[in-house]
Amino acid sequence: MIWETIRLALRSVRRNALRSFLTLLGIVIGVAAVIAMLTIGSGTTQKVKADISKLGSNLLVVRSGRFNGPRSSDTVARPLEEKDAEALSRQLSGARAIAPAAQKQVRAVFGTESLVTGVTGTESAFLEARDWTLASGRVFSESETRSGAGVCLIGETVRQQFFGAGDPVGEAIRVNQMSCQVIGLLEAKGYTGFGQDQDNVVLMPLHAFQRRIAGNRNVDNIYVAADEATPTSILLPRVEGILRDARRVPPDGENDFDIRDMTQIADTMASATATMTGMLGAVAGVSLLVGGIGIMNIMLVSVTERTREIGIRLAIGAHERHILIQFLVEATVLSLLGGIIGILLGLSLAGLAAVTMSIPFAPSPAVILLAVGFSALIGMVFGFFPALRGARLDPIEALRHE
């Protein structure tokens, strides 16, 4: 009986193929939007989480000036200095690695090739703090760091631009007129969730950077990585205390530096993604509602068109429930069909987005099942009223209907 009804429903959908398709568009678009969004959303979240952990887990980043609120115009933010990092190294407990760093975008040249790249002057502890590893070569030696020797570590993008697949270690590149010898190659890290190439980098000793590239003694950031046993929330006030001391901030004065907790940023970002997903979900919900009303409309038309058929069926032995089920199944089949097309479309869109945005393609079986269930539900809910109307028809009136 139920198979019979489903077959009948499919036949009626096929008979009015174009009309059915147009009716389905609302459902198709709604479901496709939900599926695409949730799939892209979870891919992005995965990517962001991976990026944050690439930044270094349990990482505090100190920057000069105040991060929150406007800077007062009369006081120029006082830069960080190397001695601030040294004070931390001496006094801070619970840290795994501490590294001062200064950055600038400059042009690097090798032979006839050139590339604008992010140059960072820092110490070997920087790699530890950020959980970066070397693919080949070695890190800066103690004496290279102290003297600010002309040596550097390069990222994969820089290697590819200058050396192709070849071994860069031992070659000399020019960074902003300064010649430096490549002593190591960084492990490739790919793009961030925001499309930033993390492999287009050159690392050199801080002193070399300050003298030859920046032309000042400033430090832009100090990276502080917490050890296993120390949560960043505990480490942060300690860092703050030591830096206030080192920079002689008066007891009632505000910090002239800013400490960011990357773990916290990860959480913020994750919740921002969730909010975004929720908002887009609401939009998709509206389009599903519109789709449902479309189904209701077409089912009402269908019931009216087939009034005579309903009359015949009632006269030759159908009960109200048979008619009700017939139209309910038809509405459900219709909307389920829309749901399935929508799922396929949504997954294709998400797949496309995954490729172009280089995020993982993360379809969730639960979400897909939910979409199937939901579209069936829409058919039942919005098909119910028209079906009931058909079932309640007076057989004689229905038979007289032209």
């Binding site: 015949i312 006269a315 030759i316 009960h319 004689i396």
Partner: protein, 235 residues
Amino acid sequence: MSGAPLINFDKVWKTYGEGEARVNALAGVDLAIPRGQFVAIMGPSGSGKSTAMNIVGCLDTPTAGTYSFMGVDAGRLDRGRRATLRNLHIGFVFQGYNLLPRTTAVENVELPLIYRGVAHTERRQLAMQALAEVGLIGREHHTPAELSGGQQQRVAIARAIVSRPTLLVADEPTGNLDTARSHEIMDLLTRLNQDLGLTIVMVTHEPDIAAYAGRTVRFLDGHVASDARTAEAAL
């Protein structure tokens, strides 16, 4: 013929409309039809024949009076129970064939069985048998649009008898057919009445069609004007 008649009208009234537009389609009909009879209903247009057929077939209920089917007061039954009565005991043949369009002959014939919950293979077999009984084998996969008027009416009859009903209600079954087709259909109905003991109530305007029935009831202005056995000799 034992016990109560299969069909019994007791002062049945059917009124349509209100006030000025009030019409008494049936005005006190008394009529009893026992099992196994083949009855022709005649009368001028608007005399209430179709209204009476709808009540006979438990599609409609009287405004006043009592209509009993198999001894049950059908007018007091709710929609669901009347649907069950139709499902189990009544086959309809309508004036305009009323087959489902774009649905093959055999599928049309299967319909009543679907609503009786008969399984697929048995259903197909019974439908083919009914089509054979009306002489339509070889045409079972044609849709109504691909069949002649007489063939469509035979499909409609097959659909009405496939569930082996007690009563066949036919409202002008030959109304759209030429003389030769009409007589084919009437031969078929006569055979069903004699071989299966099927009770048939049939509306017709044509005396030579009515002559096939054993009894002719004439309606006039909503009541029974005459009721007579058809002389065998009339055939």
